[in-house]
Amino acid sequence: MDAISDMPLLEVERLCVEFDTRAGVVHGLRGVDLSIRRGETLAIVGESGSGKSVTAQAVMGLIDVPGRIVSGDIKWKGQSLLTGDGPKRAREIRGKEVSLIFQDPMTSLNPLLTVGAQIAEVLQRHLGMTKTQARTRVLELLEAVGIPAPPRRANQYPHELSGGMRQRIMIAMAIACEPQLLIADEPTTALDVTIQAQVLELIAGLQETLNLSVILITHDLGVVAGLCRRVAVMYAGRIVEMGLADDLFERPSHPYTQGLIRSTPRLDDRMNRLIAIEGSPPSLLSPPVGCSFRARCPIAVERCTEQPPLAVVHPGASAACWRPSVPAWQESPPLEAALT
């Protein structure tokens, strides 16, 4: 986190992604702007279907039929990955300069190949290593991600390893070519809580030693706080709030972010009851005009039928809301009072 250069590594500009389904066109991303610099850590939070994973897949060039990128641009070190020579360059940097860790380590590894072979594949593809060279590097990588007895583990198959081990293998694969950006798509969701902490610690450690930029995609706000400097909150295919993590948790601006934080249990807060955000996210088949959170927002006004831009609320924080920082959720009575 100490060496953040000014040059943005990755820029996502007004990105729109659509999916063709039987029911019609699903507008998965509706104009997403993001940028991340070298060594920076960014969390993307939001509930299922908000477009977090689609954003990651678009960056990795993994949007496939029936999905397509409709408009917008993705730039890597200032050059577009979508136009001109971009797609060819995208194939070269994928897995080498940008890599991705998936949610479910149980199904993300090929069950019929040894884990060593699966890591070696990346090295052979991107660094042109021979089998023997790759083998040596694989053992180093396994060591680096904290897998005991690397020579033995490298020859094992995924089903012989635990979930946490498999996620470490995925991480070893992702850092094999010393990438500049690591995208972790809910890397701990499928793991036990104790293992979750270990895997997050590992990612944080690697982030520091390799000066990695990290995009962490999660729905778990607890995971964000320790690992990421900046946070983007997504809702219905858009970024609704973006800011520094500490600040955002302290004084969230967007009503949705406020609701999200208030609906997460905290050990150090015995006073406020958890709230539930009524209703469900809008269908992205025909997204509502204006602010997508309008229908569930307690402080919605006439003007919310107009889409609010992502505007600076206070230094280091911006929100897409006409009434930012207005407390949206009523202070509920303290728990003790409610029980008596």
Binding site: M60, L62, V65, R91, E92, I93, R94, G95, K96, S99, L100, F102, D104, T107, S108, L109, N110, P111, L112, L113, E121, V122, R125, H126, Y157, H159, M170, M173
Partner: protein
Amino acid sequence: MGAFILRRIFQGFLVVLGVTIVVFVATRLVGDPAKVMLPLSATDEQRAAFEHKFGLDRPIADQFVTFVGDLATFDFGESMWQRRPAMDVVAGRLPNTLKLIAAGLGLAIILALPLGAIAAIRPGGIADRITVFGGLFGLSLPQFWLGLLLIMLVAVKWRLLPTSGYGGWQYFILPAITLAVPATARLMMLVRSSVIDELNQQYVRTARAKGLRFSQVLFGHALRNAMVPFITLAGWEFISALAGYTVVVETVFAWPGLGLTAMQAIRHSDLFLLQAIVFTVAIGIVLVNITLDVIYKLIDPRIKLA
């Protein structure tokens, strides 16, 4: 692995024993061998002499013991039609059938793997539609008709290849194609659907995220993982060819193999020869199944041999 193979061989031995019992019952108890094998004009004395010669007048249990004892030494008695030991006839014909199956099934496998995999890249796309149509077409062609058609066109009309019989490589082409067409269709459709399944697996997404070339993802990951069902069907094709399809193809092309011999044995009411053929095919099926189990384990490390 060794213990597993030994155990499977023992189980296979039981299967073969079961088959011999069925064959014994079907030939001795259901029908009367003397009636089947001797011409209608045979006198009662000739019939009695025949029964005595082959021990058919002895108690059935006695006959069974002798029958099983002979089997253990691969002695199936004399082929009435060929006038030499039935097993000699089988041993002479079996290699021809195996060569034909190797050519036909080899062709089918070589075609089915890439065609099925390419069709699976984009289900519903143009390559897929052509493949599916071709597959259904191939499945719908009756083998005897296809064989006759090939003879008529390629051998008789265009005079490119011999019509039938056994000889150099030219003789292999038409029978192998006839044997291969429906097998290719079945195998190709299976490769297509399994590769479609595999391409939707999460690990394929990982492979793509690693930046592997699409060909590496398709052939190195998806197709490789689709091999278990493929090997199962390929084994089934081998068994069905050995136990049936070659009968049709060899008859059409006058191919001197086991299938044609089975037809001739039936036509000549040559019970002992037929028994030898059935026994040989049964052993073949057992051996193929053991081989398949071993291949499964080599492909998929998760499979436990038991």
